[in-house]
């Protein structure tokens, strides 16, 4: 298993991310970092075992990929099934209920990542004692923030329940629409707490913004590199987390492709398989695997969008883009700031929707000309999520291809790990600082490795250093 030549460090498992993975750092004979890889070591096989299942079951089945952002899978699959049943335009109630579900999901997922997974690094520093650099440490030193994190998650989860029937793994989105509307009583409950949630979202954005601006000099180079960026984009160029066309830009903001109908995504995106990871490596076809890799998620979305259609998030976007003079921001650690801009955007969208009477409509489902193939895309909290299915005339799934957000970020995460390892590894000792810096770089992407391999588990970390002859020189666990 181990490479015969270079020294080898393994970080396994990586902590405070969703899923199970490990990092291997290969050293050359001069003990310099030769290569670093993030391996995703889980395997689940959803794409195979949903074959034969009826298509209307898929939005409920396939969301079991994940317990963090099942709504994204639920909605992406439902959007693909809309295509299958010929529902080209949903009713206003169906579309807005789904959007509300999605913004509730984005709100709770971003809050979870920021408050529970990332805030220990930002509040205590990368070198702080791991005994306090965790969510319990945050709860002890910053109890009001810990409570906010929990309450924001709860708010988002309650929205998911009101729109999909359950806080986790609901059934709301069905092919061609939605199975319920939002009652006045449900709406009023959310309106009661809305201003408090907005206020907390503003506070979280301020923490992320201040941290990034204050430490910009150090962060600018931390695990950073130029990359392409990809996301869905609305027809007028606005950020749209629920629906749009594909836009890809290079690191300077030049468009690689724009307003591409995602039903034909296979012409523009391909996936490469490498033998050392269960996670595939997508790339932009026209650029090839070497140059065609790209980033997705909050940072990419901020970079690709011409504007955000909610006022507070738009003001925050302008400030964010000003840091890089309006050009794409390629700073890996800027993911956190961009993620919190989206958190506020989600809160603003929730507010907009709750004041829309269409949510109380009763026209829930449409159908049209049945098709045999459908693609559903959505901007999940972690980035663009692709669901692609083929259905036979007996209504059974015969092909499924899922490209999840974390898979798009596979190459960037590997690059980030390699950059951090090169910058911070000295000698053959695995220090706590290195261990955590590698994790910090991975964590910036908010990866869900379970989704990425359609696997499940959690992710503690172990680092193993192996000499040229295969001898284990050092092992360290977080």
């Amino acid at each position: 298993m181990s490479a015969p030549n270079p020294n080898r460090i393994v970080i396994e498992p990586v902590t405070r991310v969703e899923g199970h993975g490990k990092v291997t750092i290969l050293l050359d004979d001069q003990k310099k970092v030769k290569q670093a890889r993030l391996h995703v070591v889980e395997f689940r096989g959803f794409e195979r075992f949903i074959q034969g299942r009826p298509y209307w079951e898929v939005p409920v089945l396939v969301q079991r990929l994940c317990g963090i952002c099942p709504v994204s899978h639920h909605l992406a699959a439902a959007k693909a099934m809309d295509v299958i049943v010929g529902a080209d335009t949903l009713t206003p109630t169906a579309e807005k209920m789904r959007r509300l579900m999605h913004y509730g999901q984005t709100f709770q997922s971003h809050a979870l990542h920021f408050f529970h997974l990332v805030s220990p690094d930002l509040l205590f520093g990368f070198d702080a004692d791991p005994a306090i650099r965790n969510v319990i440490g945050v709860a002890q030193k910053f109890p009001e923030l810990a409570v906010q994190g929990v309450m924001m998650r709860k708010y988002g989860q309650e929205i998911i329940k009101a729109t999909s029937g359950k806080k986790i793994h609901g059934t709301g989105a069905i092919p061609g629409g939605i199975n319920k509307n939002l009652s006045i009583a449900e709406r009023d409950e959310f309106l009661k707490d809305l201003e408090q949630q907005m206020s907390w979202a503003r506070g979280a954005l301020k923490i992320a913004r201040d941290f990034t601006v204050t430490h910009l000099k150090d962060l600018a180079d931390f695990g950073s590199f130029n990359s392409n960026h990809l996301s869905l984009i609305r027809e007028d160029g606005a950020m749209d987390l629920y629906h749009g066309n594909l836009r890809a830009i290079d690191f300077q903001g030049n468009k690689i492709f724009d307003q591409v109908d995602y039903q034909g995504y296979t012409k523009y995106i391909k996936e490469e398989v490498r033998d050392w990871s269960y996670m595939k490596f997508p790339f932009i076809t026209s650029l090839g695997p070497e140059k065609g890799w790209y980033r997705v998620g909050p940072l990419a979305r901020l970079n690709t969008a011409d504007f955000i259609d909610t006022p507070e998030a738009e003001a925050a976007r302008k400030e964010f883009m000003a840091v890089t003079q309006g050009k794409p921001n390629n700073i890996t650690m800027a993911y956190h700031w961009s993620r919190m801009i989206e958190l506020l955007h989600a809160a603003e969208k929730i507010s907009e929707l709750l004041h829309d009477k269409d949510l109380q409509g009763t026209d829930l489902v449409v159908k049209g000309q049945r098709r045999e193939e459908g693609v559903g895309l959505i901007e999940a909290p972690r980035g663009t999520l692709f669901h692609h299915y083929k259905v036979n005339e007996d209504d059974q799934i015969v092909m499924a291809n899922l490209i999840v957000s974390t898979t798009h970020n596979n190459e960037p995460m590997n690059r980030a790990v390699e950059k951090v390892a090169k910058d911070h590894l000295s000698g053959v000792q695995i220090t706590e600082g290195l261990l955590n810096r590698v994790e910090v770089a991975i964590r910036a992407y908010d990866p869900c490795l379970s989704c990425a391999t359609h696997a499940m588990g959690k992710m503690p970390l172990e680092v193993k250093l192996v000499g040229p002859d295969g001898e284990v020189l050092d092992v360290r666990r977080s």
């Binding site: 009826p54 209307w56 069905i174 199975n179």
Partner: protein
């Protein structure tokens, strides 16, 4: 034949009418005896044994046993509850019941009984048997993974619909639903409007393209346990 008679279930006085089974008399009196294969519009089958009660100290299936004057019937006893839980448990592990993405969830009688009995997880090991799926019919989908071999569809198709679309093949653990056709379900005369197409207590026979149209919270057993409709009487 219009004379009534009395017997007891768990000490409660029940009035029966001639020709009634214990199950039928209990239903009329608002006493719920759990069941799976029994259905009020079909003849009794007595195969699932979930409705087993003690009649004068002997086990009998309530759906087939005629009620009689002076009978002493035990229904809700720890021993019978334990036995019923075992039966439900075995049905779960013998099939491949994935409630989390089954569209019958919330309306499923097997799941409803498991909830009523407080079964949190099966006690027996899963068998993970390979089962067939037949999606050939334009309006009906058969998933044998979920079939509990209750024969409701067999009886409904034969006795009520007059089509005999279903039957059984195999014995013991290999027993399964078969279709009155050379190859698959689409060759039968089964229609979505037939009683046989809508009478399955689990998600083995479902009407296509209905899926999850009923939201969580409005399904049959979301807010009240199975049997509540009878106990209300």
């Amino acid at each position: 034949m219009s004379e009534t008679y009395n017997f007891t279930i768990d000490g409660k006085e029940i009035t029966g009418r001639p020709g009634q089974t214990i199950l039928q008399a209990a239903d009329e009196a608002g006493v719920y005896i759990p069941r799976l294969c029994a259905h009020k519009e079909l003849c009794a089958h007595g195969s699932c044994r979930v409705c087993t009660v003690m009649v004068n100290g002997r086990p009998q299936s309530a759906c087939t046993q005629p009620a009689g004057a002076g009978m002493v019937v035990e229904n809700e006893t720890p021993k019978l509850l334990g036995m019923r839980k075992q039966l439900i448990d075995m049905l779960f592990v013998e099939g491949n019941h994935f409630c989390m993405f089954c569209e019958k969830s919330g309306n499923c009688e097997l799941q409803g009984l498991a909830y009523r009995f407080g079964i949190m997880a099966p006690q027996h090991p899963y068998m993970f048997q390979k089962k067939d799926v037949d999606a050939s019919h334009p309006d009906i989908y058969i998933d044998q993974n979920r079939c509990i071999v209750c024969a409701r569809c067999v009886r409904a198709s034969h006795d009520v619909d007059g089509k005999s679309a279903f039957g059984f093949v195999g014995r013991g653990i290999h027993k399964k639903i078969a279709f009155n056709a050379e190859h698959n379900l689409s060759e039968t005369k089964l229609a979505a409007t037939d009683m046989a197409a809508g009478i399955c207590p689990v998600g083995a026979i479902i009407k296509k393209r209905v899926g999850f149209a009923i939201p969580v919270g409005q399904r049959k057993y979301d807010t009240k346990p199975i049997g509540s409709d009878i106990e209300k009487r």
